[in-house]
């Protein structure tokens, strides 16, 4: 860049700031004696005015026109055939229109005297020998399909340079048209429309007819799949129903055959597999909307352009079934991008499925629509069986809402069925049954778990062969699990350390680690010492201790600190570990990995990690370290390995689990496997990843799943002989309770549902809450009626708040790979919208102003290592979306606007001070100094209620005189203590509310074999 240009630029920008004569004067002065310079600047300034928006027309649109012209060039089009034209022995009699695969005509087979459908192939490719040969081969395979539910292909014909496929002509409407018949009706929902003969609303399809259609589609797919043919483009438009009710699936396999020929005119030499797998997307002659139509049924792997197999048909089958039941598309959007993004990231609106639809069918749809193909229903034959059973058995009568005495569903209570029960459902179960139920459920659960473990038997890879429950004390347990070969050590709520024999039996306390809020991290290879830490005010760090297993006192290891998190059940901290030779300790602090001598001296940083390190483990030989890295920006956890000297850091499973949520990899004693936990769709299970053991061994690097639901299994630890895996099995469930001042006890509230983060509308009639453990954002009347889900995965919600007018709900939302953001959703439903779509920083904890025109929010104090000064409270004007910072609010979070509008309350980052901001004086003052959690204003703005940091009691402080009082103790109840779920709140009458933990959490020993 030359100097003159820099000068021009400088003068130009300065001149831009000035107007009229001031500008002229400035230029005259600055460019004195250099008329060329002045002319240059002035001409640019002149064009500045005109330039305005000349670069605003998107160039793509410009080119679109050009591309559009190319599209209509004659080479790529198919010539319209005149009626009466003969193609081989077929006489064209009528046009049936242009389908996704070219033009289609009705024609008369003059030899066999029957009517057929003729599909004309685009001429451009009919002249290309090589693809044509392939087409013929593949068409032969398709022509060999002979099934009553598949429209037959008779043959490939050619005459006068026109090539056409002769196919079975199927009269009747397409399934798409059949579904569309219901248009104008509201989507069938809620009440017994399928079963009630008197129902006022006519559903799009009667259940029987619907299942019959579904069964026939499944049979067609099953038949084809058995012969290695994949449809690839199954959608309602490709399914025809004859007047007799017979289903004919059209265009089987054509997508691949045609796309393989390079039908798309834009495909050049650089075409890649996307076209192969995106059926109609690459076809010529598609009508407007066709692409959208097809994209909606594409499986995530198709949408990503990955290799596909028959599971893409199973996905599409799920989409079709969903659409038949709900009369709406499972994945929809305005543009292809939207649709594809929905396919890849969104869950269908499960609430759109009529509640009266058979549970078995709802489950089937969910199993078909699992995004990870590996976890999807494996065989369409299973779908066919389910449908047949539903059609013939009494399963067809059963609805998703269990009626009286039907609390136990017919399928495992996996994540799919959680949260489906309506409010108060449990209370309606008759009394004797209710008493028996927990036992029954527990027994059944164990049976089911056992069955599921054993059912999962991939051949010649690691597998679980049996399971024993070691503990049975009913207390909430938490990671980490440690074992010295004879005992298993673990945490018990709230802060106890406990142990049990590896053969099961009584749970005993660990007495040798008398550290308040202590957490065990590791046990030395000789079984003599623990590494331990303590939860402290720092929240994310704790001091490192060693403690003898049997007797003696703990010893602080230098000034060393290690990472701690209590963010979720899936986490064990374990940020420190003994080396196998006991000569070193490896530990993680923040983003750094260290080693030190066992006495805490000689601490040496060995490397910087790509995130916060946890779950550090040494390989049996002491060469490698295995650890979990938490990326605080994307909120993902992943497994990494690094040499003990800090070199060769690499992720173990890059890209394996969509939103990476793996943790706690431990080596088997022989070093052949790393066993770890992974969370998918809210369910945590154990996996084994083969390791490279020798120079010549080739590890497959594909993990094998060891456990499946319905129970979460986490924090694996391997027995010293390598034959058992000890794991913490958790089936989370909570119960909402409120404090009853008269009886001085906590009583079930809102039906004792498994919900939390309950917030009430101003009139006290409505409540918004999160279901536990799924975390679905819901709202309903306080009697549980008019329940509506407001947000869907992958959007996770937290701390919803009603607007003062009751029309909107603001909440903190987290999408995988993004930061926390504030969202607003209409209380009557709709798409949640980002409060500040342009903002890239984290936003949490919205609180409404009295008039509902503004929201205050804060930055997440625990993630994103932003400087203190950037963590200010911010107020958004909802009309202008203008953001203003609250003066003096650096480092504060969890702001709460007082109902009278006079104050903001907020906590310091370490949660040890509650502060009060007075809008009139614009000053902050200390209100309370103690560990604070979940502050809430009383309705009259006179008190702030909160719980203490350790969750032992409820307090309130009076604003007028700072008087602090304890109003309820948590003694005698076990609240859910992990992370966000440790929420407390206030009922409309200011009674404290909390969700108590009714989870089943026990230690199990798994027998396993691994080749």
């Amino acid at each position: 860049m030359n100097e003159r240009w820099q000068e021009i630029e400088r003068i130009y920008h300065q001149a831009l700031e000035l107007d009229g004569s001031a500008r002229a004067e400035f230029l005259a002065k600055t460019c004195d004696g250099d008329p060329g310079l002045r002319a240059e600047v002035e001409s640019l300034l002149a064009h500045e005015d005109q330039a305005g928006s000349f670069l605003e027309t998107p160039p793509v649109e410009m080119a679109a026109k050009a591309f559009g012209k190319a599209e209509r060039s004659p080479a790529a089009s198919t010539a319209a055939l005149e009626l009466g034209t003969m193609i081989a022995h077929y006489r064209v009699t009528a046009s049936l229109g242009a389908g996704g695969m070219g033009e289609v005509y009705r024609a008369r087979d003059t030899k066999l005297q029957r009517d057929v459908a003729l599909k004309i192939l685009p001429q451009a490719l009919a002249h290309d020998a090589e693809p044509m040969a392939r087409f013929e081969r593949e068409a032969q395979v398709l022509a060999s399909l002979n099934h009553p539910n598949i429209a037959a292909i008779y043959g490939l014909e050619e005459s006068n340079g026109i090539r056409a496929l002769a196919m079975e002509l199927v009269e009747g409407a397409t399934l798409g048209e059949r579904i569309a018949l219901a248009e104008g009706h509201p989507p069938p929902a809620r009440s017994g429309e399928f079963t009630s003969p008197h129902g006022g609303v006519k559903p799009p399809l009667q259940l029987g007819e619907l299942l019959s259609i579904a069964r026939q589609i499944a049979e067609a797919l099953e038949y084809a799949h058995e012969r290695g043919v994949i449809h690839r483009d199954l959608k309602p438009a490709n399914v025809k129903i004859t007047p007799e009710g017979t289903v004919k699936v059209l265009d089987f396999g054509l997508a691949k055959v045609l796309s393989g020929m390079g039908v798309s005119p834009l495909r050049g030499q650089d075409a890649h597999a996307t076209d192969q797998n995106s059926p109609t997307l690459s076809m010529t002659g598609t009508e407007p909307g066709m692409i959208l139509g097809t994209a909606a049924y594409m499986s995530p792997e198709q949408a990503r352009g990955q290799r596909v197999d028959r599971r893409c048909d199973i996905w599409a089958f799920g989409c079709v079934l969903y659409e038949m039941l709900s009369a709406r598309k499972a994945f929809d959007g305005e543009t292809i991008s939207d649709v594809l993004a929905a396919v890849i990231t969104k869950e269908p609106d499960w609430n759109a499925l009529p509640t009266t639809a058979p549970l078995s069918i709802q489950k089937l749809i969910r199993r078909c629509l699992v995004k990870d193909a590996k976890q999807r229903l494996r065989d369409i034959g299973e779908a066919r069986i389910t449908i047949e059973e539903t059609l013939t058995g009494d399963a067809g009568e059963r609805s998703a809402l269990p009626r009286e005495g039907e609390a136990l569903p017919d399928l495992p209570a996996g994540p799919l069925s959680q949260g489906e029960g309506g409010p108060g459902e449990r209370d309606r179960v008759r009394a004797p049954l209710r008493r028996a139920l927990p036992w029954l459920a527990a027994a059944l659960l164990v049976l089911l778990v056992a069955r599921l473990f054993w059912m999962f038997r991939p051949s010649s890879s690691a597998q679980v062969t049996g399971m024993v429950q070691l503990t049975d004390d009913g207390r909430v347990k938490f990671p980490a699990l440690l074992s010295d070969g004879s005992r298993v050590y673990f945490g018990e709520a709230p802060w106890d350390k406990a142990q049990v024999s590896v053969n099961g039996g009584e749970v005993a306390p660990v007495t040798s680690v008398p550290l308040p809020q202590g957490l065990l991290l590791d046990i030395s290879p000789d079984g003599s010492q623990f590494l331990a830490t303590q939860a402290t005010k720092l929240a994310d760090r704790g001091p490192l201790w060693s403690a003898p297993v049997l007797a003696g006192s703990p010893r602080r290891l230098g000034g060393l600190m290690v990472n701690i998190t209590t963010q979720s059940l899936a986490w064990s901290t374990q940020a420190a570990a003994w080396s196998p030779d006991m000569q070193r300790i490896a530990f993680a602090r923040g983003n750094e990995l260290y080693t030190a001598r066992p006495d805490g001296t000689g601490a040496k940083k060995i490397m910087t990690l790509p995130g916060v390190g946890f779950a550090v483990h040494w390989s049996p030989g002491g060469m490698l370290l295995e650890l979990t890295v938490q990326d605080t920006k994307t909120n993902t956890d992943s497994l990494w390995q690094v040499r003990a000297d800090g070199t060769n850091l690499h992720p173990l499973l890059p890209g394996w689990n969509g939103a990476s949520e793996e943790c706690c990899g431990v080596w088997t004693p022989d070093g052949k496997y790393v066993v770890f936990q992974a969370t998918r769709d809210g369910l945590t299970s154990l996996w084994a990843l083969p390791q490279k053991t020798g120079l010549f061994s080739r590890a497959s690097r594909q993990p094998t799943q060891l456990t499946t639901g319905p129970m979460n299994t986490l924090s694996p630890v391997i027995s010293r002989d390598g034959k058992k895996i000890f794991t913490l099995g958790i089936q989370p469930r909570g119960k909402l309770v409120r404090y009853d001042a008269r009886s001085k006890s906590f009583v079930p509230y809102l039906g004792g549902e498994s919900i939390y983060c309950a917030d009430f509308s101003k009139d006290g009639q409505w409540v918004t809450f999160l279901s536990y453990p799924r975390g679905d954002l819901m709202r309903s009347k306080i009697d549980g009626s008019q329940k509506l889900q407001l947000a869907y995965p992958p959007l996770q919600s937290y701390l919803p708040r009603w607007s003062p007018d009751g029309k909107q709900i603001a909440f903190s939302g987290l999408k995988t790979g993004e930061a926390w953001k504030v969202y607003i959703v209409a209380a009557d439903g709709g798409e949640p919208e980002r409060l500040l779509p342009q903002d890239t920083a984290e936003e949490i904890d919205p609180s409404w102003s009295t008039d509902g025109k503004r929201l205050v929010f804060s930055k997440n104090p625990f993630t994103e290592l932003a400087p203190e000064r950037e963590r200010e409270l911010e107020i958004v004007d909802l009309k202008t979306r203008q953001v203003t910072k609250v003066p003096g609010s650096e480092g504060l979070f969890s702001a709460r606007w007082s109902p009278d509008g006079r104050y903001l309350a907020a906590m310091t980052r370490d949660s040890t001070r509650l502060m009060l901001y007075d809008f009139s004086s614009r000053l902050w003052q200390d209100l309370v100094k103690m560990g604070i959690g979940y502050p809430n204003w009383s309705r009259d703005s006179k008190y702030l209620y909160f719980n203490d940091f350790k969750n032992t009691a409820f307090y309130r402080v009076r604003i007028s005189d700072r008087k602090l009082e304890q109003i309820a103790s948590f003694m005698g109840i076990t609240s859910v203590r992990e992370g966000f779920d440790a929420w407390t709140g206030l009922a409309p009458d200011d009674a404290p509310t909390v969700m108590i933990d009714t989870s089943i959490a026990e230690i199990y020993a798994l027998d396993w074999t691994a080749p």
């Binding site: 679109a64 599209e71 543009t335």
Partner: protein, 194 residues
Amino acid sequence: MQRVPSAQEVTLLLRAWGDGSKEALDRLAPLVYRELHQIAGRLMARERPNHTLQTTALVNEAYVRLVDARQVSWQDRAHFFAICARAMRQILVDHARSRGSVKRGGGETAIELEEGLAAAASPEASLLALDEALQRLEALDPRKSQVVEMRYFGGLSVEETAEALKVSAETVRRDWKLAQAWLHRELSGKKPDE
């Protein structure tokens, strides 16, 4: 047939580029070009004629297809979009050039615009003219040319552009302003000394 790059691969390359690896960029650019070309071609040829195509939508689709969004920071995202912008420019220019040469019976000569952009004979011509003007701008001031590429061809916001170029948003705003004026002058065919 070329292998489809995995989202992970693209993501890793993106990170490597963010960390300063020039080789990563060399490997990324053709991947992105190919993907964008494919998407663009498909969308342009088949979307409803009245459907306004947004560059950002296009680039977003490429992003969804190529990048594992969970694995990248938004800075990486800005880098990706910057590559998209370059690829987009290339695609459009290639296309315009081929269209133009068809019309001219194969001639590859540059199109001189006398009447200026507004009166350009065809979208192809104006695009080629803009591309050439941008090349001249690049010779004079590479960063300004990049800003235009990212903002115009890639649909990047000021902030994203700033992130990708590692300069302040204010700098981008100023560059964008001056570059627009400069380009407008170039394209209207009037130089101060003429």
